[in-house]
């Protein structure tokens, strides 16, 4: 007698519903197959069909299309699996109002508008940083060297080298994509970076950097001093100082020169700086031949690293915020304020061979900096501290001026002088109009390519919305 029959004989169990569940809920192949599919499609309707057909956000004010080359770069980015380590959107908690502006804004739905954004590259892991806001933080030559071998630019990096993956033209496409992918705010940053590169090269007599991976096979570039004709009576370092907030020009070290501080500075230098500045500090690191201008040489005893016009505060500022137009990066978020100062202290000992192996830098190796008479005279006569742009920043709502101030924080609104080629004028207004020209050109080319692609485009009014400078206000 089975259990079931036993139940039927049991007077306590009412007749009629005593059938065993398996008999009522028997699954046949039809129920498993078709029923399973019905369940599946009911959910698919809600979680796939519905969002795809109802969620179509309009282009955000920050959105831009990609140029033809940038689209090719994006396809290379997708086909080679770059998204497995780099996500493509920044979250609210990523946006830090810190000094390193990798995540200056939260990604909006409208940032992903347009047919050039397929396939999605949102990603799921951040072994490397998010790249949605990467445009313009680094110049093109930095990107090329970094693609060739990421350790050249950041010795701590885990990124695979791309030297065997891409041809010269493919690298240029990738660089174009990375430099123009972040919408209008990124394009403005990139325009600033390009303008700064122009000024830096002209001012120092350097040629354009090598394209593609050519830097790996060619000698390091050299500046040509003969084409330089600095205006008379003008401080030769003035154009360089214009990229440093003038509050730092005469600043001394806040930290004492002790062995501990110097040793920590050496450690950080070996961790972060040797890819470009070299293990000897002579500016001939493995990545140097990609870069123009070439990285600074710290070994010259006579001018105590870059001359009497460049004080410790200037070094501090360049490490903290980077030097737009050169490959010098912004380390403000990666190094503590104290560590940056320790590196600055250590730099001033390098001429005494403190970078040699097993050498502990001593306070006696430290070369004390004295501001030159010319610098003091220049500060007194022309560029007064109280004219510092940061004191008057709020007056300018124009994004191009804001970007110019970011690139040239040492310029006051009234400043205007020639850079060392004797021809090119440097002022905030000139910079702003130069940046605007580059920005407009980038944007127009992207729109022209998008029209040719026959992709969906927002109204021209969207294009006219000026860019913003997120995270900088």
């Amino acid at each position: 007698m089975t259990e079931n029959e036993h139940e039927r004989d049991d007077p306590r169990v009412p007749r009629g519903w005593a059938r065993h569940p398996p008999e009522r809920m028997l699954i046949t192949p039809l129920i498993a197959g078709v029923g399973g599919l019905i369940a599946f499609f009911v959910v698919v309707f809600v979680v796939v069909w519905l969002p795809i057909h109802t969620f179509d956000p309009a282009a955000s004010a920050d959105w831009t299309p990609l140029t033809k080359d940038a689209v090719k770069g994006r396809n290379l980015f997708a086909s080679n699996g770059c998204y497995v380590c780099h996500s493509g959107y920044s979250r609210p908690q990523d946006v830090r109002y810190a000094l390193y502006f990798l995540y200056p804004k939260v990604s909006q739905p409208g940032d992903f508008f347009g047919s050039d954004q397929t396939p999605n590259l949102l990603g799921t892991e951040r072994t490397g940083p998010d790249l949605s806001q990467e445009s313009g933080w680094h110049p093109d030559d930095w990107q090329r060297a970094h693609f060739y071998d990421p350790r050249y630019m950041d010795p701590l990096s885990l990124m695979p080298s791309m030297k065997s993956l891409f041809s010269d033209s493919q690298v240029e496409q990738l660089v174009t994509y990375v430099e123009t992918r972040s919408g209008k705010s990124g394009l403005l940053r990139y325009a600033g970076q390009l303008y700064a590169k122009h000024i830096v090269l002209v001012n120092q007599g350097f040629p354009e950097p090598y394209r593609g991976f050519q830097g790996a096979h060619k000698p390091a570039l050299e500046g040509n001093d003969k084409i330089l004709h600095p205006p008379k009576g003008q401080l030769e370092e003035a154009p360089n100082l214009s990229q440093i907030d003038r509050g730092y020009w005469l600043s001394g070290n806040p930290l004492p020169v002790t062995q501990q501080n110097l040793l920590r500075g050496k450690e950080v230098f070996l961790d972060r700086c040797v890819g470009c500045h070299g293990v000897d500090g002579d500016g001939k690191g493995p990545g140097a031949s990609f870069l123009s201008p070439t990285p600074a040489d710290f070994t010259d005893k006579d001018d105590a690293c870059c001359g009497g016009d460049t004080g410790p505060g200037d070094f501090y500022y360049r490490i903290l915020r980077g030097w737009p137009g050169t490959a010098m990066e912004n380390f403000g978020d990666r190094l503590s304020v104290d560590d940056i100062w320790r590196v600055v202290l250590f730099l001033k000992t390098i001429p005494n061979d403190t970078l040699d192996k097993n050498v502990v830098p001593e306070p006696s190796d430290y070369i004390k900096w004295q501001p030159s008479k010319e610098l003091l005279a220049w500060v007194k006569s022309t560029q007064k501290l109280e004219n510092n742009v940061s004191f008057s920043k709020a007056e300018f709502a124009d994004p191009y001026i804001q970007e110019a101030m970011r690139i040239f924080p040492g310029l006051a609104p009234g400043d205007s002088f020639l850079v060392n080629d004797g021809k090119t004028r440097l002022s905030l207004r000139d910079a702003a109009s130069g940046i605007k020209t580059i920005y407009d050109d980038l944007l127009n080319r992207a729109w022209a390519d998008a029209r040719e692609r026959d992709g969906k485009l927002p109204s021209v009014a969207q294009k006219a919305i000026p860019p913003t400078v997120p995270g900088q206000q």
Partner: protein, 497 residues
């Protein structure tokens, strides 16, 4: 008691039991091809994983070799684990179990199954060659280029036909729980794969953009709905189906509850399909979709608990076999990790927890808990079980199997723990505003440990290949018999011997 001394040579060669001499009524040709391919792919994809682990420690390890670049090997590893190793193992198990469950002598067409196995091997080889040479659609978990997608779907549909035709000619009318999944799950996956890979839009065919929706965020929603259903509608239901088979079969105990298995089947169909968006919880996608994903991720615990209770109920009074029967031990270890991964996954799908752990190695640990801890360990046990049955002989060496079990279990547990800790390290550091690159030096030690634990898993897979190869090519039944005789003679030597 007197010992017989007049044993004839014919008698010594006779099998120990009459049953062992009977040829198997099941041809199992299809099953053999699928699961033997699977164990080879397991080692291949394990080695891909080891390459990745090495590159995490020394990024220049394979410098200059473009096809060993991290970004190309990683999709090959992920797709290989799912499509080459696990899928081939699952189809092998399905082709083995289905005839036995529905009372047919073999599949509808064993030969078709064999052809499909070879075609599938070619498909994965083509796909992976494409990925390693930079031909990818660039959508996570859907990287294979369009022609490979089509080949995959054709083979898949042929397999579905084979399965349905076998079910159609069944001699046992009511179908067992496992068979529900054997019918539904391949169909779900075929639809999931076709929709998720947007196969009606081949695009550039050989590289990105191809097989993607034009609207980027819609594409992301579709991408992650599809990717999660690789687990939800194929890998997990098949784990359930196989566990529902192995546990009652090995313990010789009927399944604890029919009703609970109904809950696990329908629960899986309804709740698993909608969880995909929890992969992009912090992205700019619709909030209502995120809510559905979060709720579904928790509702998923209903079928999970139903399944868990069902298996534990079946195991009641049978736990001695956990220690003596190796396939059962593999299965229940996988069962434990499966339970764990669901609990963990439910928490990961919550916004506050997700904010901390998303983008970190915690997610990588979670993925390995499912694919390595649950599915792979189950697959190892299933293959050890099936090989013994199909070849009708004990495995070559029990101690090799023990080594295989302990290497993969210890290797995985270490791997999982290390990556979970690394994930917390990343999550808490990022939450303090420390950028990614500054956390890398802190992760170095974790990455070294991960490589060592990973190597243990690779060795475990190689041991399985050796053990199974030796089982196939030597007569282990005869060897075991002679060993038994030797022991018997040592215990009770023949008189005058």
């Amino acid at each position: 008691m007197a010992v017989r001394t007049d044993v004839t040579p014919e008698e010594t060669r006779a099998p120990l039991t009459e049953r062992a001499a009977r040829p198997s009524p099941f041809p199992d040709q299809a099953a053999r091809h699928w699961f033997l391919s699977a164990i080879v792919w397991l080692t291949v994809v394990d080695l891909f994983g080891l390459v990745l682990a090495t590159e995490f420690v020394t990024p220049e390890a394979f410098g200059g070799i473009s096809w060993l670049s991290f970004s190309r090997v990683r999709p090959s590893h992920v797709n290989g684990v799912i499509l080459a190793w696990l899928t081939m193992m699952y189809f092998g198990a399905l082709f083995y179990m289905l005839p036995r469950l529905v009372g047919t002598r073999g599949m509808w067409s064993e030969r078709l199954g064999v052809w499909c196995a070879w075609a599938w091997n070619v498909m994965y080889a083509l796909g992976v060659i494409g990925l390693l040479t930079g031909h990818s659609q660039g959508r996570e978990y859907g990287e294979f280029i369009w022609p490979v997608d089509i080949l995959l779907l054709v083979i898949w549909c042929v397999n579905i036909v084979n399965i349905l035709a076998t079910v159609q000619m069944r001699t046992i009318r009511p179908i067992y729980v496992s068979v529900w999944f054997f019918i539904a799950s391949p169909i779900w996956l075929a639809v999931d794969y076709a929709i998720g890979n947007v196969i009606w839009d081949p695009g550039k065919i050989w590289s990105a953009p191809s097989g993607a929706l034009t609207n980027s965020l819609s594409d992301a929603i579709l991408n992650w709905w599809y990717a999660h259903n690789l687990f939800g509608l194929w890998l997990t239901p098949m784990l359930l189906a196989i566990t529902y088979y192995i546990v009652p079969r090995v313990t010789n105990t009927p399944l604890y509850s029919y009703t609970l298995s109904l809950i696990s089947f329908w629960g899986m169909a309804f709740f698993y399909t909608g969880v995909g968006d929890h992969h992009i919880l912090q992205s700019p996608t619709p909030a209502w979709l995120k809510t559905i994903a979060e709720v579904s991720s928790w509702m998923l615990l209903v079928p999970v608990f139903a399944f868990t209770i069902n298996i534990l109920g079946t195991m009641k009074g049978n736990w001695d076999k956990f220690f003596t029967n190796l396939p059962l031990r593999f299965t229940l270890t996988a069962f434990f990790f499966y339970f764990l991964v669901n609990i963990q996954g439910a928490f990961e799908a919550l916004q506050p927890f997700n904010r901390l752990t998303h983008f970190t190695n915690f997610v990588v640990a979670h993925a390995h808990l499912a694919l390595l801890g649950a599915f792979t360990i189950l697959g190892m046990g299933v293959i050890d079980y099936m090989v013994a049955q199909v070849y009708q002989r004990p495995l070559f060496s029990r101690s090799l199997t023990e080594w295989q079990y302990w290497l993969v279990t210890v290797g995985f547990t270490g791997f999982f723990s290390v990556l979970t800790l690394a994930g917390f390290q990343q999550g808490f550091s990022w939450a303090q505003g420390i950028p990614e690159v500054n956390v890398l030096p802190q992760l170095h030690a974790y990455y070294i440990a991960r490589g060592i634990f990973g190597a243990m898993i690779v060795v475990s897979g190689i041991i399985q290949i050796v053990n199974i190869g030796l089982t196939m090519f030597t007569d282990t039944a005869e060897r075991r018999r002679l060993e038994t005789l030797r022991v018997a003679e040592a215990v009770a030597p023949p008189v005058g011997g």
